[in-house]
Amino acid sequence: MDEASRQKQFLKLYVAAEPSLHQFLQILVHDPHLFDDICQAVALRLWEKFDTFDASRSVPFRSWARGVAAKVVQEWRRSERHAAAFLSPEAIAAIVDGFDRSLLGSRDLGEYLEVLEKCLSALPDHSRRLLEQRYAEELPFEEIARRTGRQLQATYKFLQRLVHQLGECIEARTSDQELLNQGRTNG
């Protein structure tokens, strides 16, 4: 494979895997300045290591990429003066496993966003509205609490429950679709 084709193949895989990688790093890194640097460092390392990725093996690119990213984070954790800004090595390994188990990280973003729309439309109006206020309008929690007449803490709690509920809905619908596809294949 010539260099241009190799680069194109990498970019294609990277663009598809980026949402999952970004989510993974969001859990591990909490300093916004470090976050950008680590994202770039991970992208570079993936490119450096791309020769070792074997597309014919059963490990998908995004799982392989998370493994590489975890190593990069571990290195930063060791080299940075503020190790307290990172999760422990054991926790990082547990998060890697958690992503591998998750039904939310194995498909392309577009598919999840389609399912997300369906799950959103199944929510009560006031729940959907609160999510819109937070994500679409980017209102501060204080303003949402004021508008909806809730305590701030109750607003945090409500939003977290809603987000988790949506996640479960996406998992359930994705898993149903998976079974349907398997049925079609087997049938």
């Binding site: 980026e18 570079l44 998750s102 994500y135 679409a136 409500f158 949506l166």
Partner: protein
């Protein structure tokens, strides 16, 4: 899952996490259940952010493809300044610079993914004259005025189009994201995809996508400017305008102030309602009937089985500073019924058995929870027929003399779902209220007193009050 762990998950949504939080997450990572919840929460949070970014952006597939192609063609001399800090080995320079750009562009591409609905919305912004600005989406028992155009479900309406309803309900879906239910008799003219003039009748509007801007309802006397909310506007035959806010907040300007600068608009918040003639006068609307401002599926009103029991309510509250309204629901008490006008709390059965049978479909009043103070108002309820009057009284408070003396505790309870994430009885019930009853043998007014103090130690000044205002319901004898 323990509350502390839930709180950690909440921190992931509004961040940043402190060093202590990170240490706690590290300690909890051995718990597979916690990790799975954390992963699910963060991924879904990210999906929501990307969805919002995609809806904000005016994505164009050609632009994206061109950008991708140019990225692939990227060479080191195009972007030597990028990633200098990170690139250690010169031999990787050219490709590395491209990859660093790729990491940025990938975020951009993924966050701007095209969405068919978004494209349609974009098209309607660009070509309003050709495609219209709103859709006639639903109607119930509509009768049109003799001279009026008869709109059908699915029709597209353009600027300056009018709806002249003699009776029934109609629903409009604006391309800006606003949804409006109009109750006839009513006359309405469309000004744009985010503004209408209500000439007569009632319109209730909800703006789902506030990112698309304000929504305005003009009347003869008042301009109502939506700030992301659900609100009702009613134009009366004498020209006065009633405005009721069910969620969020609106701004009001008298029509006389149009075109003048420096006029401070009046803000109206959740649970507030006023009537105005347009001369800068604002009068509190004390009670709003639930049928008066139907919205969404409520436009399909089912047939009532009996005449109303509760026909009015008044209090000793001064009206000018806080124009709160009571909402009277006829045959409205059921699971997940809204409990207060100024909170999204709901009434629910404490257990899966549900709300006590004698209360189902009772008339009830949504009071305002902000009245849970010592100087809560003296309320008078107007009954049309002899009835059993019920009070739902928060168990965290001492029962006052008027309640203990005039009412009896039924021994049954009803719950308040403050977060209202759950649907149906016994789900996410946060507070318990005892149900008290009093037999009222004659129609007329019944005086209720103020609420009692909190049980146990009193909260310090300024601390939140851990109690709720009482609820009121009635069934005919």
């Amino acid at each position: 899952m323990a509350d502390d762990n839930e709180e950690l998950l909440q921190h992931y949504l509004h961040g940043p996490l402190s060093a202590d939080d990170l240490a706690q997450v590290s300690a909890l990572a051995a718990d597979r259940n916690f990790v799975d919840r954390l992963v699910r929460t963060v991924i879904t949070h990210d999906f929501m952010r990307r969805r919002a970014a995609a809806r904000r952006g005016l994505a164009c597939s050609r632009q994206i493809h061109e950008s991708f192609d140019s990225l692939v063609r990227l060479r080191a001399d195009h972007s030597q300044g990028i990633g200098r800090r990170l690139v250690a080995r010169p031999v990787l320079w050219g490709a590395a610079a491209a990859i660093v750009v790729a990491s940025t562009l990938a975020v951009w591409l993924n966050s701007r993914g095209e969405h068919p609905a978004e494209t349609a919305r974009l098209a309607s912004h660009v070509l309003p004259a050709a495609t219209g600005i709103a859709r006639f989406s639903r109607s119930v028992n509509v009768e049109w005025e003799a001279h009026a155009r008869r709109w059908a479900v699915g029709d597209r309406l353009r600027e300056a189009d009018r709806l002249d309803l003699a009776a029934g309900c109609a629903e409009l879906q604006f391309d800006s994201g606003a949804l409006m239910t109009i109750v006839g008799p009513a006359a309405l003219e469309l000004r744009s995809m985010s503004a209408v003039e209500l000439l007569s009748g009632t319109a209730t509007t909800r703006v789902e996508n506030a990112e698309s801007g304000e929504f305005r309802v003009f009347t003869h006397s008042t301009d109502v400017i939506d700030r992301g909310t659900e609100f009702g506007v009613r134009v009366l035959p004498d020209g006065k305008t009633d405005v009721v806010v069910f969620e969020g907040e609106v701004e009001l300007k008298p029509a006389q102030a149009r075109g003048t600068e420096g006029y401070t608009a009046r803000r109206l918040s959740i649970g507030e309602a006023v009537s105005t003639s347009g001369a800068g006068d604002w009068h509190r609307l004390v009670a709003v009937q639930s049928d008066a401002f139907p919205f969404g599926d409520a436009m399909f009103q089912y047939r009532r089985t009996r005449p109303p029991v509760i026909v009015g309510i008044s209090d000793d509250r001064r009206s000018a500073s806080s124009p709160k309204f009571y909402r009277i629901y006829h045959e409205g008490l059921s699971e997940d019924a809204r409990a207060f006008v100024d909170r999204c709390y709901e009434w629910n059965g404490i257990t899966a058995d549900g709300i006590a049978g004698f209360l189902r479909n009772a008339d009830y009043i949504a009071t305002f929870n902000d009245d849970k103070t010592f100087d809560s108002p003296l309320i008078s309820v107007e009954l049309a027929v002899p009835a059993t009057l019920y009070i739902f009284y928060d168990d965290r408070m001492v029962a006052p003399d008027w309640l203990v003396g005039d009412f009896e505790d039924t021994g049954f309870d009803i719950g308040i779902d403050e977060l209202n994430t759950g649907v149906g009885p016994g789900v996410t019930v946060d507070q318990t209220c005892s149900i008290w009853r009093r037999r009222i043998e004659q129609a007329g007014g019944v005086q209720l007193g103020r609420i009692g103090p909190q049980k146990g130690p009193q909260p310090l000044p300024g601390a939140p009050s851990m109690r709720a205002m009482y609820g009121i319901a009635a069934q005919p004898l």
